[in-house]
């Protein structure tokens, strides 16, 4: 590389303990062993022999696939599965999957091509650790203004390899990167498997879950309630949107059927004008629907949806939107003739509108629904004889996302800390029947039983944090308790994670967090599960990763000692059966 000059030529620090990273220009990275047909055949034969050595009873499924075999033998295996802890176990990886986990036979094995046998007596093996709630490698690149349509993938800096390498070095093979918190819905999280630091983007699963926050920082009770209300309103809107879409689908089916049956829609010349009128009405209608959102400012409903956020409780109409801009541009030419004053349609509505004068605004939803239903019925009656094309509800990007949560297609996470807020959120979860997890939960202790009753999972962030003075003071020391509390209250599942760090750090200290939780009363087994299988479960990845079970992806970590012990280090990390990190030089 030309022009690579160091300013500190005599720096005493040499990065010796870095995982293999590609420095620009040269490739130094382990890859899959690729075998051609003939090799594969011989391989298969060899494998059969080897397995005979390694295992007492080779399973056919193991060598049905091609590829080399890696076996770790003699270690204590913390499986994170029903098998529990296996002393003197053997973990066999093949074709990127875990071929078997069992007690080792202890027989000697001669060196063979294609077999990578690692003798690991006195060492420990776990599944790759998973940081279920992290900001590792996140680089939003601007003031954080997440909206429900945000995706963490978009802000994932795949070139921040040093940060990911640090996590890998500590045994972390999977990270759930969540959008930064800002209150309200802040988009969907992404799951990154640290399979190849040079191709992180290729190992991202998008839309792992939707993330929301309530009552962060030192917000007062009123604004916290407003926040909760906003969340509820958005969910409500999404539910209504879902209903509207369903209704439309139904109508469309009927319509199609009618067309098939030979009915036709009569088109008249006047239709145009009527349509325009309709469109105008539709606009009103939209606003009307907004009213249903219990207290949402009617002005702030749909006009701004293309911005991806719905402005609840905040007046943000000062900003001229693109639509308004274009409309205004066009109005300069077209509408003048009709005596239209430019700008008429931008600001005037605000002046004219008086929310207190509008009796509908504050009224309850059921009534409105009734009214609507009535309207519909009336309408149906009128047009009974004539076939009409159904109107599709206007697209609402926020509801499109939230609708998936309501349909339980995607889990949702609420970051919430204060006990009172937790209860509110539990209610919300119950109302909309969400597949939800409570995150952060630093103030879980008093309401742990409620959480347990609600069968809602908990993800605990940092077990210890810096002390008062900053706006995270409510996190102080409480996580430790909540970890213990969760266990006592038998909240299941419990996940430990690195939490919100803000500066792109995360994952590196997962085991230490877990160790602290153990000192707080969590059992060691539960602590390990909380950073492996339960973490995977909270990200809907438990079918593939998170434990050492036959058939799962071979994300395996070899430790020099117990993972939670202070001086044990990661010796090797395998992802999909490929060794991605090896501690050079041993102890």
């Amino acid at each position: 590389m030309t022009g690579t000059v160091s300013r500190y030529t005599q720096s005493p620090i040499h990065p010796v303990d870095r995982p293999p990273l590609r420095r620009w220009g040269k490739l130094k990275y382990s890859c899959y062993c690729s075998l051609n047909g003939r090799d594969a055949l011989t391989m298969r034969v060899i494998c059969r022999v080897i397995l005979g050595w390694v295992l007492l009873t080779p399973t056919t499924s193991v060598w049905a696939q091609g590829g080399g075999i890696t076996a770790i033998r003699g270690a204590t295996v913390l499986t994170s599965s029903d098998a529990g802890t296996i002393e003197n176990g053997v973990v066999i990886m093949r074709g990127g999957k875990i071929a078997d986990v069992r007690v080792s036979s202890g027989q000697a094995v001669p060196p063979m091509p294609g077999l990578n046998l690692i003798e690991a007596e006195g060492k420990y093996v776990t599944a790759g650790l998973i940081d279920a709630w992290s900001t590792l490698g996140l680089n939003p690149g601007g003031p954080i203004a997440p909206v429900a349509t945000s995706r963490a993938t978009d802000a994932l800096n795949v070139y921040d390899r040093d940060a990911f390498a640090d996590a890998l070095r500590m045994g972390v093979t999977g990270v759930c990167v969540t959008p930064p918190a800002a209150g309200g819905f802040s988009g969907t999280a992404a799951f990154v498997r640290l399979k190849d630091l040079n191709d992180l983007a290729g190992n991202v699963t998008d839309d792992v879950c939707i993330v929301a926050q309530v009552g962060l920082g030192t917000k007062g009770p009123v604004s916290r309630l407003a926040e909760l209300k906003a969340l509820r309103d958005l969910l409500e809107t999404a539910a209504a949107y879902r209903d509207a879409l369903d209704e439309y689908d139904e109508k469309l089916e009927d319509y199609k059927k009618a067309l098939k049956d030979g009915k036709t829609v009569k088109l008249t010349k006047d239709d145009d004008k009527e349509k325009e009128k309709k469109a105008a009405k539709k606009g009103e209608g939209r606003r009307g629907r907004g009213r249903r959102g219990r207290g949402r400012h009617p002005e702030h409903d749909h006009e701004h949806d293309h911005h991806g956020h719905t402005c609840v409780g905040i007046r943000c109409c000062d900003e001229i939107t693109e639509d308004e801009f274009v409309e205004w541009l066009q109005s300069l030419g077209e509408k003048k003739e009709e005596g239209h004053v430019p700008g008429d349609d931008i600001g005037n509505e605000h002046v004219e509108y008086d929310p207190w004068a509008d009796p509908d605004w504050a009224s309850d939803e059921p009534e409105e629904k009734k009214d609507d239903a009535k309207d519909k019925k009336d309408g149906d009656k009128k047009d009974d004889d004539e076939l009409k094309k159904p109107d599709k509800p206007a697209y609402d990007p926020v509801s499109e996302v939230l609708m998936r949560a309501i349909k339980r297609e995607i889990p949702i996470r609420f970051e919430v800390h204060r006990p009172g807020d937790v209860l509110h959120v539990l209610k919300l979860i119950d109302t909309y029947y969400l597949d939800a997890t409570v995150v952060g939960a630093s103030g879980l202790l008093p309401v742990a039983e409620n959480v347990a009753d609600a069968k809602v999972g908990v993800i605990v962030g940092q077990v210890i944090g810096s002390a008062g003075g900053n706006d995270r003071s409510h996190l102080r020391d409480l996580n430790l308790q909540s970890a213990a509390a969760s266990q006592h209250a038998e909240v299941s599942p419990l996940v430990l994670s690195s939490g919100r760090q803000g500066n792109g750090v995360g994952g590196q200290y997962l085991t230490q967090n877990a160790a602290l939780a153990v000192s707080g009363g969590l059992s060691e087994d539960a602590a390990i599960r909380a950073i492996t299988i339960e973490a995977a479960r909270s990200c809907k990845m438990a079918d593939e990763i998170g434990s050492l079970e036959k058939g799962k992806k071979a994300d395996v970590v070899l430790w020099s000692g117990h993972p939670l012990a202070p001086d044990s280090v990661v010796e090797k990390v395998f992802v999909d059966g490929v060794e991605v990190y090896s501690r050079e030089g041993g102890q």
Binding site: Y8, P146, R151, D154, P180, L252, L259, G308, V326
Partner: protein, 470 residues
Amino acid sequence: MNQRRLHRSATMALMLSAAIAVFVSAAQAQTVLLENGKIIPVNGEPIEKGSVLIKNGRIEAVGASVDAPFDAKVIDCEGKVIFPGMIDAHTWRGLDVPNESPGVTPFLNVYDAIDPSQLFFEDSLRDGVLSIHVSPGNNTIIDGLTRVVHPIGLTPEQMTTAPDVAMKLSVTPKTGYDRMRQMAEFREAFRKLDEEMAQLAEKKYEDKLREDEKDLTVPPEEAREKGKELIEPKDIPDKNRNLLMLSQGKLRNFVYCGAAMDVPAAIRTAKQYGFFDQSVFVLGSETFKAIDALKDAGRPVVLDGNLVHTEADALTGEEEETFVPKVIDDAGLKFALQRQWGSTLGERYLWYQAARCVREGISRDHALKSITLWPAEMLGLGDRLGSLEKGKDANVLVLSGDPLKMTTWVELGFVQGEKVYDKAEDIRLNRLFAAPEDELGPSTAPVSQPVEEGHTEVHQGEYEEPETDQ
């Protein structure tokens, strides 16, 4: 005495702009033969002693010996170098306001923002940059259409080399946005376009039925499909016209990627919305880290004016410097260099940037192409600009020496066959190079000499035939 000097320099500036006006308006292209010069055609071997014939605004012939018509104005370029006009591949200079405040404004056009009076254009002319791709700034999401201009003319119209060349986009977050929201806006813009076009199609189909006095007998999807072919260009609302062209892959586009992590996003977005084959990536200095992705994409790139990226190692604190063009060149990508505008150093010149590339190990051929032919190709003007070839626009420079030499100056500049720059007539340079007493006449001259007289003395004969056509 001080006042006198002051006054004079101010008036000189005025005179120069007047001179520019004159050049532009003299629209009759001459037939000019540049002979005896060393020709560096960029796309071929240099000719030690050769001639270039300019006729009707185009290059008529290039070669060691060229037959010139009797009426050709012959300019002897003995000891000089003949070089194609350099091309600035991407800049927002020359615009009065580089970005509109809403992020998604595909319907805008830089035509409305070009400010011909900016000194930027004059400096570009002096530095041999004869084609400038003026584009909206990087602080945007989807911005309007760009334009290639030459730095001479009084109105954007006169300055235009090629209109509506490309569209400007940025995946790096606009001020006040984060990356996630930036991308959400992208998705929403294209989704909306799709929806609106579908609705338009449906309406067109229904209108057609209405005209034919028929009933509607097909479900909406079918109507939309059938309506598609009925849409005529005039039906498309102005708001969507450019974006539609973009999504159909018919519009060249320049996508700004400020950081390495933006490169995959840019490529993904471009592919998803169908404009990848027309993409040029405008890179920040850190983006070389995404070289693999760039290499796979294989699209041309425009490099940051700051050619060296410096970064401290997170672990050791050691600073590493990387010469970015070398990384790009080694990956086999076509690249264009940008000027580091506002710098008081050499990096504000295109030739200097190219010279630096040569110094850091890039071949001379590539370095020269990166300021001429490659940017021309990126702009889709490869057949018009960027090299000295028969049939191309006569954007030609006569240099006092090798283009990559420190002491070289532009002596003559031709845009579309017109002589638009002559160093001998460049008042600012005359003043720069004049001996202290020269510029005002002998310093012993009586102080009472009227200032205006001095002017006429100096400038008489410089612009003799101010024929105005308009």
